[in-house]
């Protein structure tokens, strides 16, 4: 039932993402789009809105899953790729690639984003092996995030042309505008690997619920599973950044929304978190298109505006439960 509801929500969100947009269409135009995909309304619906909504769904799913994996791994509802610095690292690499003029080569900036996520993921893993306390690792993630942010600012600072600056900024604000199905397919490959690694690590997240020592003696190959979890979450995040730039808070909010329904089980919430992330981002993208503004709203801006207060709320609740 809960699955049906979640999948139903995604279908409704996707339908809304395809049917609604900046340019309102009449019933006659929708009919035309359906009958003749090559017509002008057909172009709008099938070549602009559909790929964009699918891209939003795919990115949202990847970030939702990555967030669920990281929260399980760190036993902390405040963990997500953004908090741990993986998104920032990915954004930094993309920014450096743009500044270095790699934007001209197809896929170069995207590859840099993926690499950036893997490098920051590897750093987080290496540190996690030494800092066993989840809180300490989160503080490290905050520091890593700040450092990557500082280096990104340095790229801005040293960037000779305002065009580069605008391009980098576009990456950092995140968007699924003008994405094609080919773009989506490229990002999907690393995401599927990331999802498979997450599935492999699911039982490790379960036993980590009872702490490191219990997990170590659970009989599961924890070292391998922990590495798989971090690699999986990094791949998912990197591919998401490669497709849509840096988009925050989806990884934080999605697991939070489904956790109650799936009885707090860190393994069982993985796939619902992916679905919830997809719903969230399709709706956020729709909102970015429908909210009237001088300039089109960027997706990353919309998620941050909604997500940051949610982050504060979760932190508030978590702090209260720690105290009690």
């Amino acid at each position: 039932m809960r699955w049906v509801l979640l999948v139903g929500l995604l279908v409704v969100a996707l339908a809304a993402g395809v049917l609604l947009g900046e340019a309102p269409l009449t019933a006659e135009q929708y009919r035309q789009a359906l009958n003749d995909p090559a017509s002008a309304p057909g172009e709008i619906v099938w070549s602009i809105r559909l790929p964009r909504s699918i891209a939003a769904a795919v990115v949202g799913a990847a970030l939702g899953l990555a967030g669920a994996v990281m929260q399980g791994l760190l036993r902390n509802p405040l963990a997500d790729p953004g908090v741990l610095g993986v998104s920032a690292g990915s954004g930094l690499f993309a920014a450096v690639a743009v500044a270095a003029g790699a934007g001209a080569a197809a896929g170069a900036v995207e590859a840099a984003a993926l690499l950036g996520a893997l490098v920051s993921g590897a750093i987080v893993t290496a540190v996690a092996a030494r800092l066993r306390e989840p809180e300490a690792l989160i503080l490290f993630g905050v520091a890593l995030s700040a450092f990557a942010g500082a280096l990104t600012a340095l790229v801005f600072n040293l960037s000779p042309s305002p065009i580069t600056t605008a391009e980098v900024l576009a990456w950092l604000m995140g968007s699924v505008e003008a994405r094609s199905m080919t773009d989506v397919a490229w990002a999907l490959a690393p995401m599927l690997v990331g999802a498979a690694l997450s599935a492999y690590a699911a039982r490790a997240l379960l036993v980590l619920t009872l702490g490191e020592e219990t997990a170590a003696l659970s009989g599961l190959p924890m070292a391998r599973m922990r590495a798989a979890a971090v690699a999986g979450a990094s791949l998912l995040t990197g591919a998401a950044v490669a497709l849509a730039g840096v988009i925050g808070f989806v990884g934080l909010a999605a697991p939070h929304l489904v956790r109650g329904v799936w009885k707090d089980d860190p393994a069982a919430t993985l796939w619902p978190s992916a679905l919830a992330g997809a719903v969230l981002l399709v709706l956020a993208d729709l909102a970015s298109r429908l909210i009237p503004a001088e300039q089109p709203l960027r997706l990353g801006v919309v998620t941050a505006l909604v997500g940051a207060p949610i982050f504060a709320l979760i932190a508030w609740r978590a702090a209260r439960s720690w105290r009690g």
Partner: protein, 253 residues
């Protein structure tokens, strides 16, 4: 056969040797208590014996060096209940208990978890979140998780801590029954009377060294009570078993 054999085990933590040349032998069918003051090295001894911290010396589980066992084979031999009872997510008791058998197929793990919950008398809690339980209820669920491992050696760090008297007795009775049924059980305890009443053997640690290893009342002799616990006193026989009658040494400060 001996479930656990520890020889010349030393552990350094933060540049300090917190466990010095420790020895411990736990035969099948026995309930052994490891006792000692705070910081005496009880938890470190258990962790070192199970390969949870880097240690020098030898620790064998059913004849095989713990360091050479794969995670899977180590878990087949030993189940561990950590002192830390924090549970990160509010999962149901049933889910938590089944974690003891996490390497088994889900349905089998659930069955083992359910049986273990019934064994500790918590079947009624099966569908309740651990976040909505009292400390005692949560301790029982975590004990069920340990039993669900089915491991022939059970190691429990402070299983009686924070429990009311009835729950302490129930826990120790259950562990004694497990030992009588053939399992090997090791517990750390602060309550020396509980140790003397229920355990077949008591190992006393003081400043990282094993200072006594014998039948309970003999291990906890007046001399050991004085040197390792700064207590003056001895054991009184009662119908319920030996009871410690002691007061703090004057030199205690």
């Amino acid at each position: 056969m001996n479930a656990l054999e520890v020889e010349h085990l030393s552990v350094d933590l933060g540049g300090r040797t917190v466990l010095v040349d420790a020895a411990l032998v736990v035969p099948e069918g026995s309930l052994t208590a490891v006792v000692g003051g705070n910081g005496a090295g009880k938890t470190t001894l258990l962790r070192g014996a199970l390969g949870l911290v880097a240690a020098r010396g030898s620790a064998r589980l059913f004849g095989e060096e713990v360091a050479r066992l794969s995670p899977r084979r180590r878990a087949e031999r030993v189940g561990y209940l950590a002192q830390e009872r924090r549970v990160a997510w509010g999962m149901t008791a049933r889910r938590i208990a089944a974690l003891g058998a996490v390497t088994q197929p889900p349905r089998r793990a659930d069955a083992l978890g359910d049986a273990a919950l019934a064994r500790v008398g918590s079947a009624d809690l099966a569908h309740r979140s651990v976040f909505d339980m009292s400390g005692g209820e949560r301790a029982r669920v975590l004990l069920a998780r340990l039993l669900a491992t089915g491991a022939p050696l059970l190691v429990l760090d402070e299983p009686a801590a924070g429990l009311d008297p009835d729950a302490q007795l129930a826990t120790l009775e259950l562990l004694r029954d497990e030992a009588r049924a053939g399992r090997a059980v090791v517990v750390t305890l602060h309550d020396l009377t509980l140790a003397a009443r229920f355990c077949t053997r008591v190992v006393v640690l003081d400043k990282g060294r094993v200072v006594a290893d014998d039948a309970p009342v003999r291990a906890l002799s007046p001399e050991v009570l004085r040197s390792a616990f700064a207590l003056e006193g001895g054991w009184a026989d009662t119908p319920a078993g030996p009871v410690l009658a002691a007061q703090r040494s004057r030199t205690n400060g």
